[in-house]
Symmetry: C2
Subunit: 361 residues, 2 copies
DNA sequence: ATTGTATAATTGTATAGACAATTATACATA
DNA sequence: TATGTATAATTGTCTATACAATTATACAAT
């Protein structure tokens, strides 16, 4: 016991700090009995009242638990704090794309364990994400599920650091950021795009345009998968029919792209839209131009959003499951399970509807 | 000072209880200075240590604040707790209908004030709502926005009582429950349906079917508006073309209703769907049966969901605004503004697209 | 087998007193 | 005007002590 009698730091506070250290370093483990107050009096040569003051503070802080007649024990904070945990989720916009599905998955899993989920909409903006990050830190949430924004990797890293500096674990969902020691969970966009492209090739297509936003790792991965599938099937990659955009998703912009692409006289037989909302714009554009899908041109999307009135062949992403799994991951971190950062890739599967026609032979 | 020296209740605890009472009854008001420890020693004839024990507990509980040299003061808990408040929202399902829009409105308003929103999905089930209510109470949320479930009024009342018993204010959103002293905010469904029906009548329709679920106050109000509009225009209400259902919304069921109604040989010229998701089923059914909307029959919906591919004339509900306003209401209650329960009705407006044809002259 | 009783260990409650640290205020000094 | 200093009120820290309440355990009585 190293208490400095002459230090300006109060004795009770020294003792309290020492105790916390011992607990956090695992010298006193959960459920361990710490010395009795009488023993502490002998050990420290302080009065019992002072001992009690230190111990009482730790009880209030949730480190210790007193049991009459038995002594004072270290609480298993992990189990304890595991009740009624609050987790934050940072998604672009709860109104669009897969966000509702993701939120629902996360919420269901949280609710199952009596935890709660705080919703934050970033609109894919760094400033907004930063604002919410501050708020969540103020609220002392126990963990965060973060869908990185459309901002640069560096800026997204700032957000994550904001949390980790405050000992709040983070799980990245859907999109990743390179070289970062945090858990992340994505769908296998490379494999999915590969499968989808291969499907088109099998259907006889070999002039397949791709249109996507390069802003997100997800779509860049899809582009990789698309190119790889073409290459593996001996079809040269034609950069002139790969249309990339690096600004946030705006319907009108993609509607115009779609119209341009559909009007352009070329021998395209199929279009691979980077995600379903892009595909939707193609439907609308095609409708406008009196082009029939799949009769005149085939179309595939990616996401499997619930479009009730159009019958789009697309990759179904297990978004609900992603929500569930990210919550499981973050809860494991909150419980303090220390492993290497996990990189989970969920499998997507192809949903064949009627936007692709067999061509050629 | 009434302390019972002989009571088995500890002196410090008696003092502490008495102090809380004084504070909560407003005898000691926020920012008031309470007697100094020395004064308490005189008043109570207890030792200073005992006084301190009671006061320290109240400090820990957030009732009091010590200031060296100045004394001990009552904290203004309202102002204090007004920062970083957490509000719960109970909606049917974040994935469907207007829920995302409502949640977004509420979240934006909350974020603006540095508050946070906990998301709960009830699936319109009482048991689920009850579960979440318990969870939110455990978390000590400061207020709740509640979209009543499809269960009976009595059961929804139980949920609300659960909150009010714990001094958690509640705002009802979208749907109402009769005879309840809580704030609520709805759109004016009567007026909206009246406007919509009148619109159809002006377009020459006088044989207008209505199909709806009677489970929710919203749709029952719409039915009232529909009937009133007919009556006011001298059109007799024909109960045989009013199709009601009182089970939760299931797409298949309504698809079948739609098919039956569309197949039935009658002189219907227009259909008023209780909400957009019902209208969507009519689109799908019509498509199946090769019936063109609006050429063969006109259709209106209610909600203005974001259907990208169909062009439905419908009532736009200011759902985002409803989210914002319910958050404002609940925050006002949390701040302790005591008024009569407010009943706010937001105006909807008609969005004319192309699902209604002019008939007759 | 159940119920009651004594014991002892430990925390819980309480007293009386002492000195330290902090800080608003007033006053003094540069 | 700005800065330093003394004062006094109040909370902060700490000692030494005493008895009460709680309860696991062992053992006795029924």
């Amino acid at each position: 016991m190293i208490l400095d009698k002459n230090s300006p730091i109060p004795q009770y506070f020294q003792l309290q700090t020492w105790l916390i250290e011992q607990i956090e370093q695992g010298v006193f483990k959960p459920n361990d009995k710490i010395p009795t107050e009488a023993e502490f009096v002998q050990l420290t040569e302080l009065s019992r009242a002072t001992i009690r003051q230190a111990v009482q503070n730790l009880v209030n802080m949730g480190y210790l638990e007193r049991k009459k007649r038995l002594g004072t024990f270290v609480i298993n904070r992990k189990i304890d704090s595991n009740k009624n945990t609050i987790v934050g989720i940072l998604i672009p916009d709860i109104r669009s794309g897969y966000a509702p599905e993701l939120a629902r998955g996360a919420e269901d899993e949280a609710a199952k364990n009596k935890h709660s989920l705080i919703l934050c909409n970033t609109d894919d903006l760094f400033t907004s994400a930063e604002f919410h990050a501050n708020r969540l830190t103020d609220h002392h949430v126990s963990g965060v599920i973060f869908v990185p924004t459309a901002a640069s990797d560096a800026k997204n890293r700032l957000i994550i650091e904001k949390f980790t500096r405050n000992d709040i674990p983070v799980v990245l969902a859907d999109r990743t950021i390179p070289d970062l020691k945090v858990d992340h969970i994505t769908t296998d966009n490379f494999q999915g795009a590969y499968t989808l492209t291969e499907y088109l090739i099998r259907k006889g297509h070999n002039k397949i345009a791709m249109i996507l936003s390069t802003l997100f790792s997800t779509e860049r991965e899809r582009l990789r998968g698309y190119k790889q599938a073409l290459t593996d099937h001996g079809i040269p990659v034609d950069e002139s029919i790969i249309l990339t955009d690096n600004s946030p998703f705006i319907e009108m912009r993609y509607l115009n792209y779609a119209k341009k692409l559909l009007k352009r006289p070329n021998d395209l037989t199929a279009i691979f839209a980077g995600h379903d909302r892009i595909a939707l714009q193609f439907y609308l554009a095609a409708n406008d131009l009196n082009i029939k899908i799949p009769d005149h041109i085939s179309l595939v999307g990616y996401d499997d959003l619930h479009f009730n009135t159009i019958s789009l062949t697309t990759m179904h992403q297990p978004i609900y499951e992603m929500g569930v799994e990210s919550m499981k991951l973050i809860l494991a971190r909150i419980r303090g399970e220390k492993k290497e950062p996990q990189k989970i890739k969920l499998k997507s599967y192809l949903v064949e509807r009627s936007s692709v026609k067999q061509v050629g032979t």
